[in-house]
């Protein structure tokens, strides 16, 4: 059992597990194969493309991973090599599990030195590794089954392929929305702000950002309960979507904070949109799902415009600083930085 587990193979497997965790990647056989090729250094063209993605802090979303696999690993000639690489990784993973399982017995066989070594810190480490590896293997087994099933279905008829593609599209679309409010989620925002800032850098056109926070939201939750809190979040999201123009983009940034991107809007135009949002919310005398009317909901808004060459984090930081200033100055205000 131990003979199948070369030190280098185990080292690469550890690194693959680390990478999948670091980039939040599902452990499918295809993804194992990609990262095996990357870390083992056997595929330089794949490695330099992945390095370009990593150095630009691009996200390894499902579409990107699929493109990498299709582009570098799924040509018919290479397909077998990949399946081999994939099963090699799985085998190594199985070995690691077996090693963790049989750790104590092996240690006895190898004598007291190894027994001492395998106790304490190493055992803890192996237990942790084992849990994550077991999970990954389970996931990939599930995925392997699903992949075969899809393959069979695809051969059946092109109509069914189209249905599957549509379903996939829906799944991808859903993954970009915040489930509570129906506006774009944080993950989608992170990608969209890059795309819009890239366009603004090329065109030289303005790009405004609103950081929007619900005032005293904790008090709403504490006083009326979380259901009312959720209703307030939905109402604010709806108000934001109705108050902005067609090309604008609304996302839930986190908690009770929303972000709005405004293409072709300078500070002044962004300020006006922010005012419109505040006024639209005031017009809605909502009971927010309670018997008694909830004291009116107000918003604090920070405004900041993209300057070509800004680091995105700097720009968002300015918007947050403006929001903080609006809060500090008494809330229900708009500040521009």
């Amino acid at each position: 059992m131990l003979s199948g587990l070369s030190a280098r193979g185990k080292a690469i497997t550890d690194t693959i597990v680390e990478s999948l965790n670091a980039y939040d990647i599902v452990g499918t056989p295809e993804n194992y194969a990609l990262w095996w090729e990357y870390h083992s250094g056997t595929n330089p063209p794949l490695a330099r493309t992945m390095n370009a993605l990593i150095s630009n802090q691009a996200t390894f979303d499902d579409a990107t991973l699929r493109d990498l696999y299709v582009s570098f690993l799924s040509s018919s000639k290479e397909e077998e090599a990949i399946r081999e690489a994939s099963s090699r990784v799985l085998e190594t993973l199985q070995d690691v599990i077996a090693l963790a399982d049989g750790g104590r017995a092996d240690a006895r066989q190898f004598g007291s030195t190894l027994a001492t070594f395998a106790s304490g810190a190493l055992c803890d480490e192996m237990a942790t590794l084992r849990r994550s590896v077991e999970h990954l293997v389970q996931e990939s087994k599930k995925m392997a089954g699903r992949t075969e099933y899809l393959g069979a279905r695809m051969r059946e008829s092109s109509t069914k392929i189209q249905t599957l593609e549509r379903n996939l599209e829906y799944a991808l679309k859903d993954a970009t929305l915040d489930s509570l409010t129906g506006v774009a989620n944080r993950k989608s925002f992170d990608q969209t702000i890059r795309r819009l800032a890239g366009d603004a850098m090329n065109s030289g056109e303005d790009l405004g950002l609103l950081m929007v926070d619900i005032d005293h939201f904790k008090k709403v939750n504490d006083t009326w309960g979380h259901q009312v809190g959720d209703q307030v979040l939905r109402q604010v999201a709806k108000t934001l979507e109705l108050a902005v123009r067609g090309q604008d983009y609304v996302a839930r940034y986190g908690g009770e904070e929303f972000a709005v991107l405004l293409p072709r809007a300078d500070n002044q135009a962004s300020y006006i949109v922010a005012q419109n949002i505040q006024r639209a919310l005031l017009r809605q005398a909502g009971s927010f799902g309670t018997d008694q009317p909830v004291k009116e909901i107000t918003l604090s808004i920070g405004v900041s415009c993209y300057e070509p060459g800004d680091a995105l984090s700097e720009w968002i930081g300015r918007g947050d600083a403006a929001l903080y200033r609006a809060k500090a100055a008494g809330r229900n205000r708009i500040e521009v930085i």
């Binding site: 370009a52 603004a200 850098m201 090329n202 030289g204 680091a311 995105l312």
Partner: protein, 132 residues
């Protein structure tokens, strides 16, 4: 810096905004900055004198960045310049095509000072932090 002063960087982009930002970020490197607004103009400039490094946009009128790069690498002395593709194109197919055409680095827009200088740092050693 004496050694750096002789080195040249050609910024190839149809966007005046991007050329201006790049010039600002490169000011402290000591690189001599040239500009071209499409691939054809860039190619003409390279025929006169090869730059040491080229910052290259993808989508441009007249001649695109990828067409320019293929012409450049086929030209006499055209393998010498270090090329950094600099584009909003961020998908796998574009990145792969760029490397196959002979780019040395790939930088995605929107870029900031640190991102650009990190890429340049792979080719040159600067006397001081250029982003400072």
């Amino acid at each position: 810096m004496a050694e750096m002063a002789a080195k040249t960087c050609l910024v190839v982009d149809d966007s005046p905004t991007v050329r201006k930002v790049a010039r600002r970020f490169l000011r402290h490197t000591g690189l001599d900055i040239q500009e071209a607004e499409n691939g054809q103009i860039a190619l003409d400039q390279c025929t006169l004198k090869m730059p040491d490094v080229i910052l290259l946009d993808w989508n441009m009128p007249v001649m695109s960045g990828i067409q320019f790069l293929r012409h450049l690498r086929a030209a006499s002395g055209g393998t010498e310049p270090k090329v950094i593709f600099c584009t909003t194109e961020s998908d796998v197919d574009h990145i792969r095509e760029a490397f196959e055409a002979g780019t040395d680095e790939y930088l995605m827009k929107p870029f900031d000072a640190k991102m650009l200088n990190d890429k340049l740092g792979n080719f040159f050693v600067f006397d001081h932090d250029p982003s400072a």
